[in-house]
Each structure stands twice: as structure tokens, then as C-alpha cells.
Symmetry: C2
Subunit: 396 residues, 2 copies
């Protein structure tokens, strides 16, 4: 049929092989609803291009060992190596990944400043990737692409950053800056979108076509997966959750507007409230101060309790609004704050459930994924792999 439909066929088959791990041609044809002849033609092209490989299947019990051995197809891990990078508030994490999405090695470097100039941040990212390659016997030129996740308003199509809390300047073609520095393709996206991508490939989102990822780090992020794809909005900067308003003319947010969810639940907001009330919160860094605040609340210190309780109720209200609007199957809560006793608590989830539209039907499921930076960086790697795969399919 048409060229476009052929492209879609190729993508469908490659995705299905990836998702299956190992799979026979006949199963691809059946499951993808594509003729065996077409599957044979397309997978032959994939084999020739080195994107996939054949592996003999061990005969199953009872199966005859004679005759032509059955053969499975799988992605060829060595086809491409990519780097995935997560730029966080206080660290840069990098992972190298093969074409199967398998992590090869990873690193995490602390950042002294959470906000940098464009040049400085590009240099830090470049150095982190180069160091990880060098330490593990790769050259930068071994990489087919780099995926980068960063907080803020990022146009994933172009790599343009409208604004990021990690960058001093606004309106930077940061993808291009990194491309120029590294000399290989760079793909940039909002970090929560890439966390959603990681969930879809490796964790809770694997078999769930419609889910939301909500992240709390220094800011609040959201990734929306619909019909298996990350939703990025019409102007390309994707969904924004931290600056949805939970209070008319409410607390001042660092974005300059009032009543944003972040102004009630992010680290800086919590620390600030505590300091207003003169509550003693121990610790040098903001992160430590927030931890002591939560500890004090657990130890029933009244002001700490009041601050934490309000933050939880505000977060629950924001989450309930998302559930009402999207009616997702699953909400995945990501980040260290999502441990019981911090922002996350059973009460918080109950408060969400009591604020969502009541129908006599299964309520959406909540899953907590408190996790290190590996998930984020792997999401960035997967993004790079998808972009490279799409490119490769066009050339086949």
C-alpha cells in the first residue's frame, strides 16, 4: 500500500520485536495483523541493516529436534549505542545503553550550582558523557546519539528550551548547543516526559496504554502517555503540572504567578513556610532541611505537622484534578518525596480518592516508584534510541 503505511508497518514490527524480546516471524504476523510475506520482507531489511538478529530457539519440550530449527528475531544490541542524560537540580546522571535498551554503564556527578549558563551546562554534560565513555572503553564516536532530560519547557521536536530552572538564559536552542559540542545527534525533552518513557519501556507502564507519571524533585513534573505515546501538547512544551493553580491568588511561586501547586509542595516552599513560623529545621542543604521537616511532622511537632498536612492536601487536590481530567488507568508517582512519610502517605492517596469523580467502577491505580536518577537517564536513552530507530527505518 502507500509509503506512509509501509513506514508505519516497519515501525510496528520493530516496536513489536523490541517489546517481545525474542519473537518468531509468524508471531509478529499474527500479533501485528500483517501478512507473513510483508513480515518476511521487512525483517529481511532489518537483518541486512543490522538492526535485528536471528537466534535459534531451543526446541520446546516434546518438540521434534529434527527438521528446520525454529528461529526467533531480536533487536541487535550492538546496532546502536546511545547515552542518556538527566540534568537534575544537584546532579548530572548519565547511562550508556545498547539498542535493546540494556544499560551498559552509568555515572552520577554532583553539581555545585543548580543554575548554570548555557555554555557551562553544555560543558558539564559533555564532560560527564566523555568521562563515562572513557572509563568504560568507549569513544564518543561510538555513540549514535545522546538523549537529554531537563526540567522546564522544552520543545522536544527541535530541542529548543523556552525555560529551564537549570539554565540562566531563556529561549536557548540547547539541543543545537549540545550537538555542536558533541558532534553527534542530540535529542532533548522535558525530564518528566522521559521518566514516562522509561516507565513505558521498562517498568509499570509496559502494558498500560494510558497512564500519568507525576514526579516531585525540586519541582513538580508530569508525563502523560496516551495510546502508548507521550503527549507533548500543541506548542511542543508538553504538559505542565507544577504551575497549575490550586489556590486563587494564593502563595507566590518562583515563576512569579500566585497559587501554583509548586508554591505549596516543592522543597523551597516547605522550607520557606517552616522558616516563617520559626520552626527549627536542621540541615545545611535544602534537601536535608526538608527531611527534618518531615521527621518533625512524624514526631508530631504541631507546626511541622500543619505544614506537611497542607502540602499533602494541596498535592492530593492537584492529583485528583489530573485524574478527573484524564481518567487514566494508572498514576505512577516518581521521586524520593514519594516515600511513605514524606509528601506521599496513605492519607494523601485517600484524599485523592475522595476528590475524584465517583462512579461505580474500578478506581485508577496508584503506584509509587521512589527511585534514583537511573530511571530518568534511562528514559533519556530510550528517547535517543527511538529517534535513532525512526531515522534508521527511513533509510531502509
Amino acid at each position: 500500500m502507500a509509503k506512509e503505511q509501509n513506514e508505519r508497518g516497519k515501525q510496528t514490527i520493530l516496536d513489536f520485536i523490541r517489546k517481545s524480546g525474542r519473537v518468531a516471524r509468524i508471531d509478529i504476523a499474527n500479533e501485528c495483523n500483517i501478512s507473513q510475506a510483508t513480515v518476511t520482507t521487512i525483517t529481511a531489511k532489518f537483518l541486512a541493516a543490522g538492526l535485528i538478529e536471528e537466534i535459534a530457539r531451543d526446541p520446546e519440550e516434546g518438540e521434534s529436534r529434527r527438521g528446520r530449527p525454529r528461529v526467533d528475531l531480536k533487536l541487535r544490541g550492538e546496532a546502536h549505542i546511545v547515552a542518556g542524560v538527566k540534568v537534575a537540580n544537584s546532579s548530572i546522571s548519565v547511562v550508556l545503553s545498547d539498542f535493546e535498551g540494556k544499560p551498559l554503564c552509568k555515572s552520577r556527578k554532583n553539581l555545585k550550582e543548580s543554575v548554570s549558563t548555557t555554555r557551562k551546562l553544555a560543558r558539564k554534560i559533555g564532560k560527564s558523557i566523555e568521562a563515562l565513555c572513557f572509563e568504560n572503553g568507549y569513544r564518543l564516536s561510538d555513540l549514535s546519539a545522546v538523549g537529554v532530560g531537563i526540567a522546564g519547557f522544552v520543545d522536544a521536536d527541535s530541542g529548543f528550551v523556552h525555560w529551564s530552572p537549570s539554565l540562566e538564559q531563556r529561549n536557548i536552542d540547547f539541543g543545537e548547543v549540545l550537538r555542536a559540542r558533541l558532534g553527534i545527534p542530540v535529542f532533548l525533552d522535558n525530564d518528566a516526559n522521559l521518566a514516562a518513557m522509561a516507565e513505558r519501556y521498562f517498568w509499570h507502564g509496559v502494558d498500560v496504554p494510558n497512564f500519568l507519571v507525576v514526579t516531585i524533585e525540586s519541582g513538580v513534573g508530569i508525563g502523560i502517555v496516551m495510546d502508548g505515546r507521550v503527549y507533548r501538547g500543541a506548542r511542543g512544551f508538553g504538559a505542565e503540572f507544577g504551575h497549575t493553580k490550586v489556590q486563587l491568588e494564593g502563595a507566590l511561586c518562583r515563576c512569579g504567578q500566585r497559587g501554583c501547586l509548586e508554591a505549596y509542595i516543592s522543597d523551597y516552599a516547605l522550607v520557606q513556610e517552616a522558616s516563617v513560623a520559626g520552626t527549627l529545621i536542621a540541615g545545611d542543604t535544602q534537601e536535608q532541611q526538608v527531611l527534618s521537616l518531615f521527621t518533625a511532622a512524624q514526631e508530631m511537632e504541631p507546626i511541622a505537622q500543619s505544614i506537611v498536612s497542607k502540602a499533602r492536601r494541596m498535592f492530593a487536590m492537584g492529583l485528583a484534578n489530573l485524574v478527573n481530567i484524564f481518567d487514566p488507568q494508572l498514576i505512577i508517582l516518581i521521586g524520593n518525596q514519594m516515600q511513605e512519610g514524606l509528601i506521599y502517605s496513605d492519607d494523601m492517596i485517600n484524599s485523592v480518592k475522595s476528590s475524584i469523580v465517583r462512579i461505580d467502577n474500578t478506581a485508577p491505580q496508584f503506584v509509587v516508584h521512589p527511585t534514583g536518577d537511573a530511571l530518568w537517564a534511562r528514559g533519556a536513552a530510550v528517547f535517543a534510541l527511538e529517534m535513532i530507530a525512526t531515522q534508521s527505518l527511513k533509510e531502509i
Copy 2:
């Protein structure tokens, strides 16, 4: 290629013919990226099934009148006739539509009670359709299907109503009740979804793949169109906007929860606030009372002003949250309340704009579509047409 892809090809071609009005085969092939041979085969099947027809194209100026005349294809209006029904708070509107979506005739009947039993409402809907048919020389058996839009939580796949403000009972298979009564296929959906469908087919959403429709009648509704399709959520009851929370532990809503947007801006909420403050609002019906409230506000009556101003700011906050989350190209505001001087005002839109995430990029566009029930009923008709078309394609 595969059967599923063929189905998609057929759908693509039929959609394109519908959207084009009249179109030559060669243009279908080019625009849809489908081979000419396939277009010829598929359109021959459409012709045989009576879904489309050929019409000779008048030779364009300068074009030779000799040789084979060029032929366009168009939908065959008589292929199917459907009824579209909108159940509103105080009325039932019906439109009959042909397969091209052209309205043939319409009616509007007042409802004495805004809430009915399932049986009563089914009877009223049935009678309205039968009367309209009778008055215009159609028999019920001339109709291929009926589409019905109703407020509440409706599973569009099954026609199951979890809850509707128009029905006394919860959890009713209302689609089945209507099917049994009318003896023809009935398709049911949330009314705001169908308003979105009408916009996509006939008005502001025609060439816009990503837009939101926000409606205010007695309740607040939302329809989400993404990639050209109405988004209905994972549990099938679609997006809910009126019961998103705009105030933590705020005003009590008739749904039993607190702080819902509807509890601040819907007719009953406005009237109730006015009565609390003892503000005189003239009028017998709630609708009239709300109108006098807005008039009083325009005439600078302080309490009326305060009530209206708060309602507008709450509505603006809710709208801004939608914009932040969806980043749509376009927001279409539907309903009588959207006239200047009512909930809608330039100030309200400015207040939305000042609460959305600031990036140096074109802001989403707002369009107001204050409209009668015709739009809603036509959306319901279009829904029925889509369902019938899909069915017909399967049989071809």
C-alpha cells in the same frame, strides 16, 4: 497489506471525501498517500455500497470540454439518515441529518422536569424523534441510527450512564433502554464530547487537530480533541472539568464534594450566593435569576459585582489549568454564558492568559461560540454517522 491496515485505508479515504466535500480520485491518492490503484478499488466498493456517488465536474475555465469529463466523488447524502439528540436541563433538541452531515429538519421541546426516571426520559426522547420524523415525512425505520448527547459520566463505547444530572437513577444502560424502545441502533455520549465533535466537523475545529471545548450550561463540561479524535479516558467516561477542584475544602458542590469549579460558577451556585447575601435577583426561573445577577453586576451593584467577579476568576483559574496541562492550539468556549457580560468577559480571558505558563511563543487562541441547542444535536448526529460509517466499512 494486512486487514487492519485496509480498514484504516478505507476509513482514511471516507474521511477525506467527507472533509473535502467533492474530490477527484487522483487527489485522494495524493493527499492520503495511498496508491491510485488502491483508491480506485476502495472507492468502487464505496460506490457499489451506495456510500458515495460520482458527480461530473464542470470544466474549469480554459479547460478543454472534449475528452473524458473529470469526475469528483462525494458522500451520498441519502446513504443514511440519522437523528441527533441533545438532552439539556430544560429541553430536548433533535436534528435529522443526512450522510453528508447536512441538517434536514430540527425541533426543540421544553422539559418540565430537569431530572426524570429512566423510563420517562426514554419516552420523551423517543416521542421527540418520532414527532420530528412524522412532521417531516420520515418514518422511524428510515433512520439508520440515533446519537444522543447527555450530561454526566457516560461510557460512549457501551452507552452506559454511570451518572447523569438528567436521570434519577445511577448506573443505567441507557443506550440499551433507548435501543429497545426505538428498535434502531442508539449511540450515547457525554454532551460536551459531542459538542467537540460538532466543532471538529463544522465549525472552529475543522482544521485544528488539538483543541478543547469548554461548555457552561447548568453544569460545566469539557471535550478534548487530540490528533483529531475525541479523547474519552481510560474508564470511558471522558474528561471531567466541572468537578475539578479550584479551592481546597471550598464550597460544597451538589456532587457532595467540596471546592468543585461548578460550586463557584454554575447557575445554582450563583443564585445561592446571591440569596445568602440577600441580594435581590428578579425572575422566576434560575436562568432568569442568573441573568438579573449579571445585569446587576454590570450596573455596578457591589454584591452582584463581587459574586460575578469571583465566579469569573475561578473560571479563569480552571481554564488556565486546562491550558497548562494540555497546551492546546485552541480553546472553544460554548454556551449562552459565554456572551460578553456574563461569565465570559475580556477580563476573564486576560486573567486566564496571566495564569498560564509564560513562554515566548504564540499563546493558544480563544474562540467564543455562544450557541443554541442545534450545535449539540448536530454533534450527536455526527457521532451516529461516524458509528454507522465504521459499521458500513466493516461490511464492505
